[in-house]
């Protein structure tokens, strides 16, 4: 095994081009487990810890450019306002020790269907900034996950950053596990209200071969909210609408039975989380709406 230690991003891209089989390591919270258990013996480890810019983020007009190695703890501490869904998801990651090392770039690189960040990214709307010596490109998050632990990266590409839409409305995140800390999700659900475009976006984790959006559920809910004038009148969402939305979210799952839970449990739990996160975010939206309208 060789340990490659590039001092700059350009050097890292050159190293990845020269050794496409090199495994990038940043927080190490996935890669080191595989090495410790002898599940993986990469020919090259490509250490990204020296590249300081990967730990930086920039808050822009419409989105946050989040460096690939920004640890979950920094997202929780600094970006709760801009990225509330991702900050909530970050808080459910493992433990403080892991959150101090792991980041969204690694979650995307591993592309496990159980990665905690994915539902939040899908719900908020995001693009992955991938780069190689050939150039840089933005991959829409919907096109990024291509299979179980597979993603759209080319062998010579590295993840530089993730561009995540700044929240324009309430966001929520929910995760099912046996305890609060140190659990891989049995399943997870992210939901974001986008009042600016009058749309709702979702993300489902651990209930299909890849993280997915519940698109049919989103379309149904968008139409129902529009039709009922809910965005303007701020009324409570009709229970039958919430129920139908939850059922469609369950239907978007394609889960398996495994040690953490059964497929039918996952479908059921995703429906419950969909209804709850919709209620939580809508209550929050109604609160905001009432405040901006005043108390006349």
């Amino acid at each position: 095994m060789d340990f490659l230690r590039p001092a700059s991003w350009e050097e890292a891209l050159a190293a990845k081009a020269a050794h496409p089989t090199a495994v990038p390591i940043a927080g190490g919270t996935d890669v080191m487990v595989e090495i410790n258990f002898d599940h993986r013996r990469p020919e090259y480890l490509l250490d990204l810890n020296r590249i300081g810019e990967l730990d930086d983020w920039e808050v822009g007009e419409e989105s946050v450019r989040l460096g690939a190695s920004v640890p979950y703890s920094a997202i929780m501490d600094n970006l709760r306002g801009e990225l509330p869904g991702l900050a909530l998801a970050s808080h459910t990651v493992a433990s403080p020790q892991i959150r101090n090392r792991g980041g969204v770039g690694g979650n995307l690189g591993t592309a496990s269907p159980a990665g905690d960040a994915h539902p939040a990214l899908l719900a908020a709307g995001a693009e992955v900034e991938a780069e190689s010596v050939r150039g840089s490109r933005l991959i829409p998050i919907d096109a990024f996950y291509t299979g179980v632990k597979r993603n759209a990266l080319a062998p010579d590409e590295l993840i530089r950053a993730v561009h995540i839409k700044k929240a324009d409305g309430p966001q929520q995140y929910s995760k099912v596990g046996t305890r609060n800390a140190m659990v891989i999700a049995v399943c997870a659900f992210g939901l974001a209200l986008h009042p600016a475009t009058r749309t709702v976006r979702t993300g489902i984790g651990s209930a299909a071969p890849t993280p997915v959006r519940a698109k049919a559920a989103e379309e149904f809910l968008n139409a129902a909210l529009e039709e009922g004038g809910f965005w303007d009148n701020g009324k409570i969402i009709t229970p039958s609408v919430a129920k139908q939305f939850a059922e469609l979210c369950s239907g978007a799952c394609n889960p398996i039975d495994d040690v953490r839970g059964t497929a039918s449990y996952r479908r059921h739990a995703v429906g419950i989380m969909a209804r709850r996160t919709l209620t939580w975010t809508w209550e929050s939206y109604r609160g905001t709406a009432a405040r901006t309208e005043g108390v006349a």
């Binding site: 095994m1 060789d2 340990f3 230690r5 390591i25 927080g27 190490g28 919270t29 890669v31 080191m32 487990v33 090495i35 410790n36 258990f37 013996r41 990469p42 480890l45 250490d47 810890n49 493992a94 433990s95 403080p96 020790q97 892991i98 101090n100 090392r101 609060n180 800390a181 140190m182």
Partner: protein, 203 residues
């Protein structure tokens, strides 16, 4: 490969390090510092917790090559680390690298290897080089088999540095990455509350 980094305030080197080796392995097997414990090797149990550039991390998940030039504090150096923090508000790594004479920052490797908690002095703490959090663990009876203790000490000490007046929820959150299969955590909670109270009295 060779890896050079600061351990408990003193520069150290390890040779013939395998590229896939963890920081935990280097500390225990190459530097003779077995205080950080090896249990799950997958970041689940926290018994290998050390501070890397002041941040608590699982040393089993840090590749040895990643710590080149960086600062590591292990449980063996915790007493000195806490003392220096109290006296000078911390021990800058630049200063510690410059000199290694008596009174310098940090814990020499030989001393770290020989470090023990000297339980005979547990009632008074007299003569024993203990960090306040270590004394509190002994006084509260928070140690049973002791395997999880080093990780808990490093994690709890870091939390008290950041948050001198933690609520029970803060303590639980800060220690949520450290598993203990003996105590049921109640005495550990007591110990951290005790250390926080003593820290408050001292100010």
């Amino acid at each position: 490969m060779r890896v050079s980094f600061t351990v408990n305030g003193r520069p150290q080197e390890a040779d013939d390090v395998w590229e896939g080796e963890s920081l935990l392995y280097v500390l225990r097997e190459r530097m003779g510092l077995p205080g950080s414990k090896n249990a799950c090797e997958q970041g689940e149990c926290g018994s290998c917790t050390v501070r890397l550039d002041n941040v608590p991390v699982c040393s089993c998940l840090v590749a040895a090559g990643q710590v080149e030039g960086r600062d590591v504090v292990t449980v063996e150096g915790l007493a000195d680390f806490a003392k220096q923090r109290e006296q000078h508000g911390g021990c800058a790594s630049e200063a510690s690298g410059a000199s290694a004479g008596p009174g310098a920052c940090g814990t020499p490797l030989d001393a770290a290897k020989r470090w023990e908690a000297r339980p005979s002095d547990s009632q008074t703490g007299e003569g024993a080089e203990l960090a306040p959090i270590q004394q509190a663990f002994i006084d509260a009876g928070a140690v049973q088999c002791g395997f999880c203790t080093p990780g808990l000490l490093v994690a709890a000490d870091e939390m008290l540095e950041r948050n001198p007046t933690p609520t029970d929820a803060d303590i639980r959150e800060a220690l949520s990455g450290n598993l203990c299969r003996c105590t049921g955590y109640e005495k550990i909670m007591d110990a951290v509350r005790l250390a926080a109270a003593r820290q408050g009295e001292a100010v």
